[in-house]
Each structure stands twice: as C-alpha cells, then as structure tokens.
C-alpha cells in the first residue's frame, strides 16, 4: 500500500457539498477532516464504488455526529476505533444488502447481522477481512496524521530528506546530491524525522483510541 494513493480532492469536495446542509456543523466538521479518508478507503476496499462509498461516509459521519455525545472512552467497553468501526461496518453491511437484495437477508436488521457476525464475513477486494482492512487503514490514517504533524514541525530540509529517502524510496546518494547535503547528514536527518514520525504516531494513536479528535 502506497501512501501516495489517495482519494482525490474531488471526492472530498463532493462529500462536503453532500454534508453542507447537515445542520449540526460544529460537531462533524473536525471529525470529517480527520476521518473521511479512512472511512472512504475502507468502504472502497470493501468493494463499494465511488458513489456508494461516499454514501457510506456521509451516513457514518452523520451517525457519529448524532452519537458522539454518548461516546465515553472506557477501556472495558472498547476504544473509539472499535466503536467507529462498528458504525462503519453497519453502514457497509446495509449497502451490501441494498446492493444484492439478497432474500436471505430480507427482514434481518443490521443489528442482528452484526450479532451473527455476518458482517465480518464481508471480504474486501484484496481478500482480507473487513476488520483487517479497517486496521490497516486506521494505521495508515494515524501514520498520515503523524507525517502531517511532523511536516509542520520538522526542519524543512530534514523533512525533504525523509520524503525522498523514506516516502519516495530514493537512494541516499541521490537525495544527498539533490539537496546539497552529504550522506552523513542525510542518514541522520532521515533517522531523526523517522523517529519523530514514530513518536507522533504513538501519541496520535493513543489520543484517537480515547476518542479525541487529533
């Protein structure tokens, strides 16, 4: 999975315009900015097309906005990550049911579907279970947030080293000559920024599990 393969700006704009009239703006705007990509990616990996995936994101965001006042972080009852996944999974399952109109599922409420564990049986396009796809996308989303944070805080030249050597996987010598640095500087800058990203990811993950929007 490459970090550069991202849903387009177009998708974001379209999603925002769908949600524009949703009244309770304060409650979902920040949440939307942080999580829409994660939700959208998982929906797409589950096999939904662009329009259906946008539907799922829209429904999920609205559901979260409604339900988030009730969410309290409690280690016993599970993290925000699991809670959010449950909401998303329900929407995805709904869509599949609509999509295939399977008679076997007629009359079965999403909640029952969930209880029987059937939603977990939804395989993604790349053959992993939905919850594995969720975990992967969650991690990726945390990593992206960490990189975005470090991008703003790191020495710009160090970040360029990281971008070239880690994200773009350039050889050290090429990055060094492009940026006018020597190899030792490049190695150290790469290491520095990688460590900073790891630290930021740990922190962001911790916060997000507790349901804080970071």
């Amino acid at each position: 999975m490459s970090l550069t393969e991202e849903p387009s700006l177009q998708t974001r704009r379209s999603l925002l315009s769908r949600l524009r009239d949703f009244e309770d703006k304060e409650s979902w705007q920040t949440f939307f900015d942080r999580y829409w990509r994660l939700l959208y990616n998982v929906a797409r990996r589950a096999g939904l097309d662009d329009v259906d995936a946008q539907d799922v994101v829209q429904d999920t965001v609205m559901a979260v906005a409604r339900e988030i006042p009730q969410f309290r972080y409690d280690p016993e009852r599970g993290s925000f990550k699991q809670w959010l996944f449950r909401i998303l999974r329900r929407r995805v399952a709904d869509h599949f049911r609509k999509l295939y109109r399977q008679p076997a599922h007629a009359g079965i409420s999403p909640e029952m579907l969930e209880e029987t564990g059937e939603a977990d049986a939804i395989a993604t396009r790349d053959g992993v279970s939905l919850s594995d796809a969720w975990n992967q996308e969650w991690e990726r989303s945390v990593l992206e947030a960490a990189i975005a944070q470090v991008r703003a805080e790191a020495n710009p030249k160090h970040f360029q080293v990281f971008d070239y050597c880690v994200l773009k996987e350039w050889p050290v010598a090429k990055a060094a000559s492009t940026l006018g640095m020597n190899a030792a500087q490049v190695y150290l800058a790469r290491h520095r920024v990688s460590q900073a990203v790891k630290r930021a990811a740990r922190r962001i993950e911790g916060e997000r599990l507790k349901g804080r929007v970071v």
Partner: protein
C-alpha cells in the same frame, strides 16, 4: 480588520457608497467588513474603493481601531513600491461607514480599462491559476519586491498577517502587497486570523510570521504546489531544465530557512530574506553563501585583486624599463626623460610592494589553509624591494597566526567518496568501489595496498581498529563485517547495526544495534562477550583513550551513560540536556566533548563531570564530527553547516575555520583529515610561531601582572582570582592562591620567595621544587616584623630591589589623602614616607631606590619625587590618564598618556623624545625594559605592544595581541621572553630569539 466579530458574513446588497471626488462604477468584491467598488477619480483614473461598514462590527471600538489603523497606514503605504498605495481615506458617519481609495489592480486580461464589465483583478493567485508556476527569475524578483515591502511595513511596527497569493496584486505589472485591511499594530496583533498553510506553528501576528507566509507564498509560486505540501519538492523535478532545477534547489535553501518551524531559525528580518534572494538573483550560489565563511571568501577576492595589481605593476615596470633603454639610445642624454622613467619604475616597485603587503595582510586575517606560509612568502618578496616597519609588523602578525598547513590535497572518485574513511594515523584509507569491493589506499600517494573480496551490498563506510589490523565495514543493509587485514578474511558479521567502535586496545568491537541493544565482541575469538540494553536507538558512541570505559547515548533521551569495556554495564549515568549525536574524549583523556542539538559543543572535565567547562557556539547547525590532536589541546569540529572550526580546548578560543563536511584526527601528531565531498585535504595544525598564549585564570579575570623568576623557569601571574605559577619546562600550573585578588606580585632576587600584595595584607610564600618529581611547591610564610598596618588598607604597592624592599600606598583614614610609606623586609623601620598631592596611581620606585614616580588616572599629569628628601614632587603634565616606569639603569623615566609616550631624563627631567600615540585608544600604557639592551616594550591597550629603541626613540615593531586589553609586561632575566598579562585571562609570551631569527630570514629584522 483583525478584531471584532462581524455580525453577518455575507456581503448583502449594500447601496453604492459615496466617496469624495470619485464616481462609483460597480461593485467588484465583497468581504466580511463591506464591499470593494470600482471607481473613477475626478482626473479620470480608475481606482478601487474599499468600504468598511460600522454595522458589520459588534461594537464601536474595533471599528474605530480599524479606522485609526488605516489612517496611520495611509502615508506608510505610499512610501514603498511593493505596497498597494492608499490614496485617500474618507468617512461618512451618517451612513455608518468609512472608505479608502486605493490603486486598482491590473485586470486579468492585461488591458487596463478594456472591459469594465468583466473586470477581475490580476493577482498572484490568478497568475498561478493560469500559469501553474512562475519561472525562477520571476519568483526571485517577486520575492525581493515583497520582502522589501514587508521590511517596510515591519520597520513601522506593523504586521501584514495575511500574506498569500490572492493578496498580491499587480499594478502596472508591479507586484504589490494588498489587503492592508489586516495590517495592524505589531503590539496589538492578538486575535487569530490568517489563511491555513500560511500560518506558522507559533501563530500569526508577528514579523516572523509574515516572513514564514512569504516563504510559503514563494514556494507555491516556484513549485506550483499547494503550500500545505511544503516542503515537498516537485515530483517531476528531474525533468526540469537544469538551470531551473538547480535554481529551485538553491531557492529551497532560502525557503527552508524562511519557513523553519522555529521563529529563531528563520531569517532575522525581511531585509535578510531579501538579501538572500538577491544573492540568487545575482547568479551566485546561496548554498555556498550559507556554507562558506564569508571572511575567507573576502580574503580570496582581495588576494585576486592584489595579484592582478602586482602583475599590472610588473608589466608597467618592464614597459618603463624598455622605454628608458630606447630613450637613451635614441636621444642619448635626455636626462629629463630618464628621470621620469626612473620615477615611474620606482612607483611601479612601490605599487608591487604595497600589493604584496596587502596580500599578506589579507591572508593573515583570512582562515585559508597555509595562510601564514603564503603571507610570509609574499612579505619576503616585498622585502626585496624595500624593507620597512610595515612589512615587519605584517610578518610578526603572520607568524602569530596559527595555520592549517596542507600536506596533501586530492580528490576521490566521485562515486566512492561517501563511503571512504581514513585509519587512525591518517596513513591509509578505505574506499568502497563501484564493483562492490573495498580497497585500502595509501594517503601519501593513493597507491592501492589491499583489496577485499566483493560484497553483495554496497558499503556505507568502514572503520579501522586503532592498531590498524582490523577493518569493520558497515554495509547498506546495516550489517557490519569485520575483516582481518592480515588474512583478508571476514571474522564476524553483525546485523542491524546503527553504530560501532573499536576499543583502544583493538581487542573488542562495540556495536550499538538499531534494536536498542549494545553488544561487545571479542575480536580474536569472534564471539560475543556481552549484550546490554541501551533502551533507545543509539545516538553517540565514544571510547576513552586510556581508561576501560566508553560512552553511549540514545537518540531520544537527554542523558549519556558511561559503560565498562569488559561487560558493557553502566558505570555512570549523567543527565545531559539537548544531547546530540556525537561525543568524544580528547586524546589526553582529560576532557569529554559532546555535541548538542542546540548547535553547541560542551566540554566537560573528565572524570569529575560537573558543569561543562566550556560551551562553544560556533556552528550554525548541529555539530556531528569532533576530533582532537594527541595532546588534547586542539579541537576540530564539523557540523551540518559544512564548516570546520579549530578551537583551543584550554579556553575555547576559536582559531580558524574552513569549509568541510567531515574531520578525522591523527592519533600520533597534530594532523587532521578534512573531507569536503570528494575533496580530501590532509592538514597539519601549526600553532602560533614565537608566541605562546597560556590561559591561566578564569574567563573575565584577566591577570594584571606577569613576572618571570630570575631563572626564567617560573612565570607568576596575579589576577582578581589569585596567583598562578606556570612551570615553563613541564607546563604544570601551580595554583598558589585563588580566594583573594592579587594587586601586585614579585619574586625575590633568588627566586626562593614569592610576594603578593592583596587588599588587606602582604603575603609571602616559600618556593621549593620537590626532589624526584621536580614539581614546584609553595608554602605560606609568616613574615615577622613586617608591620601589617602598612598593608592593611593598601590601594597599591610595589616590591622592588630584588624583593628586599617594599612600598605601600593607601588612603589615610583621617585626612582621606593618598599616602605612601617605604620600608625594608625584615625590619620594622620605615625608610621614607609621604603624601600624594594628586594621583598616586601605580607608583614605581626607581631600581636604584632613589626616586618615586607615579601616574594620575584622573588628572592629566604624572609626578616624581626624590625619596628621603623634603623636596616637593615635580609634576609632569601630559594629556590623558598617565602611567610611569623607570629604565633598569634608573636614567630614564617613561611617562605614557593618551596622546604620546615620553621618555624623560631622570636627572634633568628634560624630555629626551616623544612618540605620538593614537588618542582614540586612551588607556594608560605599561612598560617593560630589557636589561641588557636598549629595547623597551610598551603595551598600548587594547590590542598591541610597541617595541621602541630607548637610545633613539625609534619604533621598531608592533606585536599584535588580538583584542585584549594588556596590563603588566615583563621581560625575563635573559631578555629573551616578553610576557604580557591580558584582560581576557591569558598570558602572552613572545620569544624574541625565535622571532628575530625568523625576521632575519625574511630580511626584515631591525
């Protein structure tokens, strides 16, 4: 419009405003505070009128503040071409708005006034929308213009707060900063506005934030990317034309600085940013400008000019000579012509001499390699035309300049440079070759000595064991292979290695793993001897040169551990804030040197490890290489700023700097290998010649006096932090006293005693050398019968007559008058006494004991009186603060003032001669006379010592003393060494024998 919340954010349908002398044509923009209208002035010019409505503000105050802001800004806006001019500010209270008339931006379609109906302002945003990105030259010109405009605003204590492409408009093709509605006083800018991606981490509202935003704006303009992508470089950069590509990478350096996350790391002000952009615009390299010390560049330029002048002069000389010969042949006896030719030739010779002298001076003040050698060569050539004090002084200055002498310079094949490293003696180096082999070459001549079999992955670098028998090579996949150089066999392979080092006995390899563990391997068996956790990615690894300990640190932590070589266990753990990535012990093992992320280098006394003894702040980026010479005195550091700094580890004084990206020290001589990409340079550090600088006291506690013992072996210094004695043979320093300031000090004639006058009493020590060790010992003596009362309130004193007699000066408690008494040690009798009418500063008794003279630091005179007589003192008027000294034969009295130095005949008090002095440096001078000849050294504070011939009054030479104020001066008994106590805690010792020998060689002795 930074403050106050608008009630309604939509523009609404406001009626057209009325603006004096302007016809309102149509609304062209809407903002949260009102509208922008297109208008035509009475003179027919098109203008923009911005309207700010009171109704959009919740209360009166922010509205009024906005109005005041605009009124203040109006004149400022018109005094810089990079700011949109505000032409008029008006107000209509009845209608509830104020407005201001501005220059109108060019329309997007480029034809002003062509179509009013479709008018849209041409902004940088519209420009980037249609052109994606701008050519580099345009970006630079734009940057210079806008940085200039920001500088102008900032100088008036205003900030813009919303620098972004849509706020840069073009008026007659000129880029200008617009939307001055957000300009507000720098002190009042509190509320948080601005545009995402242009706001620095610390928030908007400061000059530093405007610089950040301008950097982001230039990033968008130059790369065509969104500012939020900063600092990503364009993905298709490889396909750009070479000039655009290299230009962007140069600009990248400036933008990385302008958009640094910490304000302190950005350009200090907009003018500095404009200056950097101008450097690029002028076609010069900013990478080089950031990297290379400007001083040495300037020197090179001066030398270039000097050599050119010299060549021109030589050409002129040859031409004139030919002319002369022809004139003689043709006209026979044309004396006038010959005279002219001769004059021209002598002028040419003088010009050549002057340019050689300038070349020498420039070299001496530069930091270039071989600066001293080259300066002296130029002076030797100049001396062939005409010797002179100017050349001699330049030669003395050059001799005092330490230099890096280049032993060999060579270039490595470019592909291999990054992986190459020298051995510990700088005799061989390892090189990674593109055929995946590692070869070992001689540093002398590059001859290949050895080649190891090829490896599957490229090598990163390698390290030789201290005894030179092992080579550890780190490969690209973080494996380290240990090779025995005698058998060319790989003994050991270690995986996931971050750092490694050999122990000093070359029997073990210490490996810091990226998994946060430390491993020790036994080289002879190849077995692992120990494994210990570090708990972090290893940051620094350094091995003590003699003790069985080494240092480790972790990248994410603030501390260091000192560990035992036998099992890697922690012996000590120390908190070290901002610990960086490098540490080293000095080669003598007495100092630990650490590099820090705040760019400093700290030097700690080992093993006490209290507070750092020195904190060196030379680098403009984090230091990563630390190396010392075998004596542990010279430190060479290299940082990410690609600069090498050479410092004296005794007091942290910076001696030299050169561009370099890496440095390695030789273990057996003061030699260093400086690497700069593929260019390698083996250099030897040559300290000052015929000049020694010894730091003996604490910083800012400069000694006031430096005196030699009769044998010349001991040099004692007295300072506010006490007395030290330097053994000039062993370099040992004896701390005689460190709790009380020493006013004056003196050795007894046989050097068995040291006397010191302190603010409350006279003290004496018995000096003995220990049998066996030869170390000096000082034992405090009780001095019976000295009469403490004479020293209890001493303000000054002197010990003379080989330590037999004393003079004490104090302020009489009853009368408040300065008084003096003079006596002999061992007797309670006072030989003479008196009072000073004026002055009384630094009194001196003539060596024959007959006269007492003193200076006056507050008046404009000095005075002399015959001891034991009842004659009144003779006052010798002189400009400025005066000081005095007698010659060894008691026949001359030197009096120094701010404008001249005079020598009086003691008998007649007639002025024998006078030497003028630069009155802008009026501190009183000090004197030291040679005993066996007629030379006198005159310390002229703050920075030089003048050598005068006391027979003729001729100035012979000037010894440079850096920028320290000089206090006491003295020659040793053999007249070979001159010691000067300097205010910056050092003692300077010149060796006249070596100095004059060298000057003779150059043809420049006196």
């Amino acid at each position: 419009m930074n403050s106050g919340t608008p009630k309604d954010s939509s523009a609404g349908a406001a009626p057209p405003p009325r603006a004096a002398d302007h016809e309102i044509l149509k609304q062209i923009g809407a903002g949260s505070y009102g509208g922008v209208w297109l208008a035509r002035s009475a003179a027919g010019q098109l203008r923009a009128v911005k309207v700010v409505s009171r109704s959009r503000f919740s209360s009166e105050r922010p509205y009024e503040r906005e109005f005041t802001g605009i009124r203040q800004f109006e004149p400022i806006s018109r005094s810089h071409p990079g700011v949109v001019h505000i032409l008029h500010v008006g107000r209509d209270d009845a209608a509830g708005y104020f407005y201001y008339v501005m220059e109108l931006a060019d329309p997007v379609d480029g034809q002003p006034g062509a179509s009013l109906a479709s008018y849209e302002p041409r902004t940088l945003a519209s420009e980037l929308k249609s052109r994606k990105r701008l050519p580099l030259v345009e970006v630079l010109a734009l940057g210079v213009q806008l940085a200039g405009a920001l500088g102008h605003i900032h100088r008036h204590r205003l900030v813009h707060r919303d620098v972004k492409p849509s706020n840069v408009i073009f008026v007659d093709g000129q880029a200008k900063l617009a939307d001055i509605g957000l300009v507000t006083g720098a002190d009042e800018a509190k509320s948080f506005v601005g545009t995402e991606g242009f706001i620095p981490p610390e928030g908007p509202g400061s000059a530093q934030a405007d610089i950040f935003a301008l950097g982001r704006l230039l990033y968008e303009a130059a790369t065509g990317k969104d500012r939020c992508d900063f600092p990503d470089l364009p993905g298709d950069l490889d396909t750009w034309p070479t000039s655009e590509r290299s230009g962007l990478l140069e600009l990248n350096e400036i933008l990385a600085r302008a958009c640094a996350p910490k304000p302190s790391q950005r350009h200090a002000n907009a003018a500095e940013l404009a200056g950097d952009l101008n450097v690029l615009l002028a076609g010069r390299s900013i990478r080089r400008a950031y990297g290379i010390e400007l001083r040495s560049r300037r020197a090179t330029q001066i030398i270039g000019i000097a050599v050119l002048t010299a060549l021109l002069a030589l050409g002129a000389s040859w031409f004139q000579q030919t002319q002369r010969r022809r004139a003689e042949e043709r006209a026979g006896q044309d004396a006038a012509l010959r005279g002219r030719a001769e004059a021209a030739e002598s002028r040419a010779r003088e010009d050549l001499r002057a340019s050689l002298l300038n070349q020498a001076l420039a070299l001496t003040s530069s930091s270039e390699a071989d600066r001293r050698t080259r300066a002296l060569a130029a002076l030797k050539d100049a001396a062939k035309f005409r010797a002179g004090i100017d050349l001699r002084n330049a030669a003395i200055a050059a001799l005092a300049a330490p230099e890096l002498h280049v032993v060999r310079e060579w270039s490595l094949p470019a592909a291999d440079m990054l992986a190459s490293r020298p051995d510990g003696r700088l005799e061989r180096y390892m090189r990674w070759n593109s055929d995946h082999t590692v070869s070992i070459h001689s540093i002398d001549d590059d001859a290949e000595l050895l080649r190891l079999p090829p490896a599957p992955t490229p090598a990163d670098y390698g390290a030789f064991s201290p005894d030179g028998t092992w080579l550890a090579v780190k490969y690209h996949d973080n494996e380290v292979g240990l090779w025995s150089l005698s058998s060319r066999a790989e003994r050991l392979v270690v995986r996931d290695v971050a750092l490694f080092a050999f122990t000093r006995d070359s029997r073990r390899l210490i490996v810091g793993g990226s998994d946060g563990h430390l491993q020790l391997f036994d080289l002879s068996s190849g077995r692992r001897a120990a494994r210990q956790p570090i708990g972090d990615f290893p940051g620094a690894l350094a091995v003590h040169p003699t003790e069985p300990v080494f240092l480790t640190s972790g990248v994410g932590r603030r501390g260091i551990e000192i560990r035992r070589v036998d099992d890697g266990s922690v012996a000590r753990r120390l908190e070290v804030p901002e610990m960086g990535l490098a540490a080293a012990w000095s080669a003598d093992g007495k100092s630990l040197i650490t590099a820090h992320s705040d760019f400093s280098i700290r030097v700690w006394d080992w093993p006490s490890m209290g507070a750092p003894r020195l904190v060196l702040r030379f680098h403009r980026a984090e230091p990563v290489f630390l190396a010392t010479d075998p004596s542990g005195r010279w430190l060479v550091t290299v940082g990410w700023d690609s600069q090498a700094f050479v410092a004296d580890l005794r007091d942290g004084r910076l001696l030299l700097n050169q561009p370099a990206q890496g440095v390695y020290a030789a273990a057996d001589r003061p030699a260093f290998l400086l690497t700069n990409d593929a260019d390698w340079r083996l250099v030897e550090l040559q300290p000052s010649f015929a000049l020694e600088e010894v730091p003996l006291h604490e910083r800012d506690k400069g000694p006031r006096e430096a005196v030699f013992s009769a044998t010349g072996r001991w040099l004692a210094t007295g300072a506010p932090d006490g007395i030290r004695i330097l053994d000039r043979t062993t370099r040992d320093v004896l701390n005689v006293m460190d709790d009380v300031p020493a006013l004056r000090i003196a050795f007894s004639a046989d050097s068995t005693r040291l006397y010191a006058i302190t603010p409350d009493q006279l003290r004496a020590w018995e000096l003995r050398t220990e049998t066996g060790t030869g170390r000096l010992r000082a034992e405090r003596l009780q001095l019976p019968g000295l009469g403490d009362r004479h020293f209890r309130n001493s303000t000054s004193a002197e010990i003379f007559d080989g330590g037999e007699r004393w003079l004490s000066v104090w302020r009489e408690p009853r009368t408040g008058r300065p008084s003096w008494a003079q006596g002999r040690f061992g007797s309670n009798e006072i030989e003479s006494r008196g009072e000073f009418d004026s002055g009384g500063n630094e009194p001196h008794v003539s060596p024959d004991g007959r006269w007492l003279a003193w200076g006056n630091w507050h008046g404009r005179d000095a005075a002399i009186v015959r001891l034991g007589s009842h004659d009144p003192p003779v006052v010798l008027p002189i400009a400025g603060s005066a000081s005095v000294a007698f010659s060894p034969d008691s026949r001359l009295l030197a009096v120094g003032g701010s404008e001249e130095i005079r020598f009086h005949d003691v008998g007649t008090l007639r002025v024998v001669y006078s030497i003028p002095r630069d009155p802008s440096r009026p501190l009183p001078p000090r004197f030291a006379f040679m005993r066996g000849s007629s030379l006198c050294a005159v310390a002229l504070p703050p920075d030089r010592v003048l050598i005068v011939d006391t027979k003729t009054g001729a100035e012979l030479a000037t010894l440079p003393a850096g920028s320290c104020i000089l206090w006491g001066l003295s020659f040793d008994a053999g007249d070979r060494f001159l010691a000067a106590a300097s205010s910056d805690h050092r003692v300077l010792i010149w060796d006249f024998e070596k100095l004059r020998h060298e000057l003779r060689e150059l043809g420049l002795d006196w």
